[in-house]
């Protein structure tokens, strides 16, 4: 068995996030990198996890329900009116 393939694919997919966050010990991190260099399936899996996170980052400007937004803006106006100094 070659380097890096002593981690099975079904084990690797469970430590992808630890790997991406740099939370693995150096030896395990290196073995994951080696595995990914040799295994298309796992490399695709990791790439897709990153892709997923990246697309999630574009949801940030997702639209809020209009009634909720209006309620919050109304609360802001109320706060502003209450805080306006007299005169």
């Amino acid at each position: 068995m070659t380097d890096g393939l002593d981690i099975d694919c079904d084990e690797l997919v469970e430590i992808v996030t630890d790997y991406l966050d740099g939370a693995l010990d150096a030896g395990t991190h290196r073995r994951v990198s080696e595995h990914l260099a040799q295994c298309d399936g796992c490399a695709t899996y990791v790439e897709q996890m990153l892709e997923t996170a990246r697309i999630a980052g574009t949801l940030r400007a997702q639209e809020l329900r209009p009634d909720m937004r209006e309620r919050l803006l109304g609360a802001f106006r109320g706060w502003k009116a209450a805080g306006t100094p007299p005169g």
Partner: protein, 230 residues
């Protein structure tokens, strides 16, 4: 490979407020509704996700978020810039939601309480269908039998409306604690240590929740992208 280096605006790790936060706070204090509306649009979905981790039902979560925004406004003078404005606001949501969650717990019958949050809602077991790997008596046990197929779609197609709609729908139905963490890490772009500080959870727990959440979202995209083109 590091998802934190994906070049997303506003994803800078580290807790210190930048000058942009100072300016925002001044504009809010001056009553600039446009600035408030922008913050509301940007942060309210994550705030709703946080609230849903502590209280039952969407309407209660919405009340929590509204109360939190008011607490933010009335507390603006106390914002000292020791953390970013975002983490300060998210911290306020957590506090309001915790208080409200405790109150809800006292007012509902014990047996009905809290399927909505806590460890009970978190599943265990593999995040990828074991059927996709070779069996123990195979020459290559534990290796892919049906590996994921590359999506290799152009960037524009991945960011197109329908893919994002699928992802949003999958995000909305994640177990509450996974949803909180994915919102904060991936949607808002907070660093791991910021998420731990805001939610008061351990780094290992944070990664488990993020991993399980991301794995579900990836699967939802795979079902859509590969199913669609099959």
């Amino acid at each position: 490979m590091d998802v934190r280096q994906s070049g997303r605006a506003g994803a800078a790790p580290g807790a210190a407020a930048d000058d942009g936060d100072g300016a925002l706070v001044r504009e809010l204090r001056a009553g600039d509704e446009r600035v408030f509306a922008e913050l509301v649009d940007r942060m309210t979905p994550a705030m709703l996700a946080i609230a849903a981790g502590y209280v039952p039902g969407r309407s209660v979560a919405e009340e929590v978020v509204q109360e939190a925004w008011l607490a933010v406004l009335t507390g603006l003078d106390r914002f000292e810039g020791r953390s970013s404005l975002r983490t300060w606001v998210f911290g306020i949501v957590v506090n309001v939601a915790r208080r409200r969650g405790a109150r809800e717990r006292r007012s509902v019958p014990f047996s009905d309480a809290f399927a909505f949050a806590g460890e009970a809602g978190d599943e265990v077991g593999p995040t990828v269908d074991p059927g996709r790997f070779r069996g123990r008596d195979d020459e290559w046990p534990g290796h892919w039998a049906s590996p994921p197929r590359p999506w290799d779609l152009p960037e524009s197609a991945l960011l197109a409306g329908e893919v994002r709609d699928r992802l949003r729908a999958a995000l909305d139905v994640l177990p509450p604690r996974q949803r909180m963490v994915v919102h904060l890490r991936d949607v808002q772009g907070l660093a791991a240590d910021e998420v731990c500080a805001v939610l008061g959870i351990e780094p290992g727990n944070q990664r488990v929740l993020l991993h399980r959440g991301r794995a579900r979202l990836r699967q939802a995209l795979e079902d859509y992208l590969n199913g669609d083109r099959a």
